[in-house]
Symmetry: C2
Subunit: 216 residues, 2 copies
Amino acid sequence: MIETEFKNDVFSNVMLKRHSVRHFDRSCKIDRSVLTEIVKEATTAPSSCNLQAWHFVVVDTDQGKEKLRKIFMPFNHPQLDTCSAMVVLFGDTDAFKKYRDLWQGMYEEKKITKERLDTILGTFLPIYEKADRTLLTADAMVDASLAAMQFMLDARARGFATNPIAGYDATKMALAMGLDPVRYVPVMAIAIGKPDESQKELVSTRYDVKDVLEFR
Amino acid sequence: MIETEFKNDVFSNVMLKRHSVRHFDRSCKIDRSVLTEIVKEATTAPSSCNLQAWHFVVVDTDQGKEKLRKIFMPFNHPQLDTCSAMVVLFGDTDAFKKYRDLWQGMYEEKKITKERLDTILGTFLPIYEKADRTLLTADAMVDASLAAMQFMLDARARGFATNPIAGYDATKMALAMGLDPVRYVPVMAIAIGKPDESQKELVSTRYDVKDVLEFR
């Protein structure tokens, strides 16, 4: 089972009081085992047909950060310079290639019936096998974003703060991280660390819910 | 302040024990005020440059569901037939058009300095004004997905269950919901309701975290 350590296990506080932090305490290092646990828990997120088309690259070394610095907009250098780790999240457009084995395994674990397995492999797998890059990219970005939100909430439950970042040269991100730029599409970067309490952080305004909601 | 009513306010339970539910209790109706509150809380999610490029259409009438039925894959009809509401989530590719007013308002509320306002309007707004549709769509899908994850968690904290759904004819979704199909891109649908406890639901398997995580 999943083991965890939440200093703040109050859902309403974790979710409703979250806001982005852009200045972190430079002295805070987060152990890789903790970062791994946060990713593990974040990936309990749902995904399209359970494709799990997310891929996390956690950058916590000076060398790794230097590579990011070259492609980050200067506006986002403060987060990069002060965070414990910058987590670069990609969508994996090849995720469907593991699909048959995944569902076969779920059948063997008796989680699904043979009928369900046949439906999945006969109906959904062909959709992905025939899909164009636009669809694969869109699905992967959605999957990765769902996991990203859980990553940010999980981090907060552990007493950390985060800042999701889109301001970088997306065309260079995969190569900078040593990944195949055809297979992996960058979705966002997330700075994680302890907040620098001496800095005042912006709590940004949201539109009135009536502006973004309709009933049918 | 945000008012809420969480039956289950334990973060670890809400997030780590969530799984999709595909069979709901048909007798459960969720009041529109409650659905509105869930959307309101879900949209505390972060978004690219605070664009908030999400748009929720909550379908809770027979007429609305009938429109969805015509474009949903049959595999997803059970959720549509039994859920209290099907929430169709769109990305709003025109969100940047409200951007100047939003940040101007935050400046007037003294949430940001004049310098920050000038940076935002001088650096980020032009990126969106010049952006092609691919970028606007991608950003909107990420924003909407972040809010979607919070919607599912918030629903669970209130004692409801959800199922995110991608199996529908995306080319017809905006028109079916009476929206401009150029402006609004469908991201996912989310069924919400009370679980039908007589049904055994699949808890799908996740890959080992080592398969989706690298350090740099």
